[in-house]
Point group: D2
Chain length 341, copies 4
């Protein structure tokens, strides 16, 4: 392999995160995230979110977090509203349905839900013969790299309030969203505007872990976590990691770097004349390349995801950068791409 | 806290495990456990188990592993047979039931199922008005520290074959079981006699992780893992840890140490005249102490689990040792215990 | 077949019930139980129960009613408390578990739960590592024919209030219970003391149908009914049947007849010297007969259920009478039994 | 109410069906559909379907049948393919999802799936990160009244075989489909071409009941039925009804009448100049009427379903006829419609 742009979790963790784990390794603590290390990090997160009353929980991964939050908030006949590209709709092997809930989709070309899209779903569900849409699922960044503005999120919040809906934001790539030049949202905004959201660690420098901030009352959420096999015995590992990520801004520094590498890549590819049908201001970039170029890149040893075919001769591919992507990997790639025909 | 005997996951990981994570940290790999690091460890485990055709999967925790194995093997109307003390029956917040399956229990005073107990459950289920028992769940060590002999496991295997039952062994504390002086089972025996079992990492020196060895055909097991939110993005972390644990016997060395510390503790407590109603040959010890002694130990700063009251004046408590328990912690404890009245 | 004492649903419906269906057959109504026939019967039931604010729903069968009520009231981590002989624990193929909920059992020799039994379950569930018992399931009559007194039900209600538990009474055989000489409960008592209970039609003269009286708030219960496939298109069939059963006391007349036939049978069997280990004041009778007698009765063409073996030479069998059992069938049976050796 | 075209289950049962229930009312039988009345009807159905080895089961309603068949055939990670208008997708309150399975939809303008539509779903599901489509759900007639030809069904069968998919046909309105002039399918064709299908009784003259013909191996299907609360205690009621419906062709006579009334209605409405955007050869008709006309009809006392708005001024409505629809009801309606403006 020459270099992998396949994902933002191709390496282990940022060295400072590993060091924090090493530093605390032999401390004895109680299990299951009830230890002082986790408690302190929960406090830190509440401060960063300006949300002194929020519940903070640490979970291992994104799919796990998504379905546990959703099943904890919904009654059996209630359903999720998601963009057709939503992670919960496409890439989680029916995890939401496995907990009994339907995912109702709206077609969102840029991956973002709007009040109008939400209402189109709500209005088509009218009786006990249909599910009752109850929770709006969005992600920031979206599956196709776009991000929400504060105005957009406020509009969704208003729409949810009007229709009695929960608003849940999947922040698996929240670092990239919040450090994008186009972003005007803060952690405090997210805490104020959503019922639940999470700060994704897996895709931004942690070994694993998602920090969930929950405003919706959910007294027995730890019962849900345990029942679904998501209560890590050594829960402290997430407390330690998120402290390392968040106490001195490392989380945002890493995400900013990932974005900068993504823009350098984007600009270089665009300079070679290849189009980006959906512009992305974040660490996922989706150019359309001739199939021959795709094959040459693969033959060189580059790894990346195929998103979809664009006609017979072209392919939309996905390049992802991360905290670990070195500038020279971008520059070498661009030089190599320039040689492709 | 003076010292915690609360659990065998009170610390992080064995330093060699952490070192292995550090050494591989910046390698780029594909996600979800499909990387070369995991592949190599799977091969290693197959060799250690003398099971060249077994499937090996890495999962994050025990409850997760238990319910995913079980729901992957059972049809909706099929049920589990477990000892009344079985972890899946008592300590997993109904995880098995949350996947739709009943846990049928048999009263097993020493925590171990026998063919007679299994058959008492099978024989009381006779028609479509009842669930169909289909899988026998056991653990080694059991919840109360006892272990299975090879003869006992062979008898269960025969019983399962006779009645068309799967045999699944929870090995959360398998290290302690296999290094007990009373043990005559090997990894190869377990692979030969069960349909699935796992080598527990969380409770024996890993940060987290259970290595599942599956002999039952289960072509789409990875679909189950993903649907249940158990597919770790950086799956390689488990491949790396289990290689560190297993390639040079560290796993067994640690378990042997934990056992030795347990016996030192047991013998010292017994020498002070306190009884152990159910003898345990493993790293969990269950003495009965006067309530006054329990309170004095707690006041000193010792942590341990209360198992159950024994009448009004005594309590059965649980002490757990681990790879990290230093000999001097035992000796100091015993000295302190000797001062209690 | 000479005569079947196998069950109280061996025939169709009481002729007056069939006639009511015939009389209304060609009326056009809306579906799903929203028709005027059902509405009127709901009002009738509320009056009979002195429960003007209760919700009344009609469901087709008992297992269906049990699991829909339970899953509608519980959150995923919550569990049922039932006697070990409870219908939901033994005879419903894990229906409760199929909706995700554990059934926690207490050993109740006479089939009846008590506050002490309920509390023994509640007190053994203490943390997020265990399910949270939340609903007490009882039936009147019980599986073994016993009935609850008003004092017993009041005590259970108090216990439930103290521990925040729902109290749900399965009334599949409620007619037999309420017309037993030992009974001192009324429909109004049941409505006042339970969160939900039902008046069983299937086992007392209807073609099918259970009338559920629900006091617990359950705004979207019809969504649950529909989702579980239990919303009968021609829901009116149950409105019509329950009107026929309840508007002139037919329901109680039939149950009283069933009980009288049961006592006639019981007294006749007892007079022949056969014991009834658990006395039953209702339409199920459980004598213990020599195996040779059981075989002779079967050879004559009598049908009845085998309950369980009592040692090697005797069997506890179950005889059930119904609204349709003619007196001469009892007398002939007793004459025939007298000839057995 | 003047007349209801709301549904084909607005009345009770055909008088011959009621008579058959009356005739057998006092026969004693065993419960749960294991009685001789059901057995004989199962044999009759196997003969009519030329399927001597098929399993025949009787279930109470359509939603129930749909989800039990589907959950009995699928493994947890497997999914259904349905038209976007499919009953299981829209009108069953997420019943399929409540059993854990995703419904993947394809946009089918005429309500019918084709091999191309099926393959578009299959081809977009490629890994363990997605559900595995495994069962094709169709209905005949469809939700919008269209029907499948034999060639179309054969093509779907081939497609299913190619991709390892089950083919399940919802026959809630199968009578109307099979007696349509455009139909060329027989019961024997359906048995030969599907893995499971059902003959709907509820919407064609029974009090209730669907007769399921299952070719896919499903040894423990009765366990599924019971677990889902769908095993009717007096299962014989369905055996009796389906014998009355099927032994002398009553089922088809009734459906033919319903269709003829539908065509009479359709032709009369069309003669008044109102369009039918999607032609229907069956007992559901979907004309587009001016909103003013809709309101006038409602004011007269006609009942029918609103399907959807067609712009601001018009509405697509649904008229359904049945075995019970008298010719004069059609003629009077048409006269009344002619007076609307």
């Amino acid at each position: 392999m020459l270099y992998s742009f396949r994902n933002d979790y191709s390496e282990g963790a940022h060295p400072q995160v590993l060091q924090a784990l090493t530093d605390t390794n032999l401390q004895q603590t109680v299990g299951y995230g009830m230890d002082p290390l986790c408690e302190a990090t929960r406090d830190l997160i509440r401060r960063l979110c300006n949300a002194p009353d929020a519940d903070v929980h640490f979970l291992v991964g994104g799919t796990q977090t998504n379905f546990i939050v959703i099943e904890s908030l919904l009654r059996p006949y209630e359903a999720v509203i998601a963009a057709h590209t939503g992670h919960v709709n496409v890439h989680e092997t029916g995890a939401i349905e496995s907990t009994g809930h339907k995912v109702c989709t709206a077609y969102a070309p840029d991956g973002k839900l709007t009040p109008a899209l939400v209402e189109s779903v709500v209005n088509s569900h009218s009786s006990e013969h249909m599910v009752l849409p109850r929770l709006v699922y969005i992600s920031d960044t979206t599956e196709i790299g776009t991000i929400y503005t504060k105005a957009e999120l406020e509009a969704l919040r208003q729409c949810c309030d009007k229709h009695g809906l929960f608003l849940f934001l999947d922040g698996a790539r929240l670092g990239s969203a919040l450090t994008s030049p186009e972003n005007d949202l803060t952690l405090a905004d997210l805490a104020a505007l959503t019922d639940a959201f999470y700060i994704g660690g897996t895709k931004n420098g942690a070994l694993f872990g998602e920090a969930l901030i929950m405003n919706a009352p959910n007294e027995h959420f730890r019962w849900h976590i345990k029942q679904r096999g998501a209560m890590l015995a050594k829960g402290r590992l997430m407390g330690v990691q998120f402290r390392a990520l968040l106490e001195n801004g490392l989380y945002f520094d890493m995400a900013r770097h990932a974005n900068e590498m993504a823009y350098r890549l984007r600009d270089g590819i665009a300079a070679l004349g290849y189009p980006f049908p959906v512009p992305s201001p974040s660490n996922q970039q989706f150019p359309v390349l001739p199939n021959t170029v795709v094959e040459q890149l693969q033959a060189m040893g580059y790894e990346f995801e195929i998103d979809h075919a664009e006609g017979d001769s072209h392919t939309c591919v996905r390049f992802v950068t991360s905290w670990a992507t070195p500038e020279h990997a971008i520059d070498t790639f661009l030089k190599n791409l320039a040689t492709c025909k």
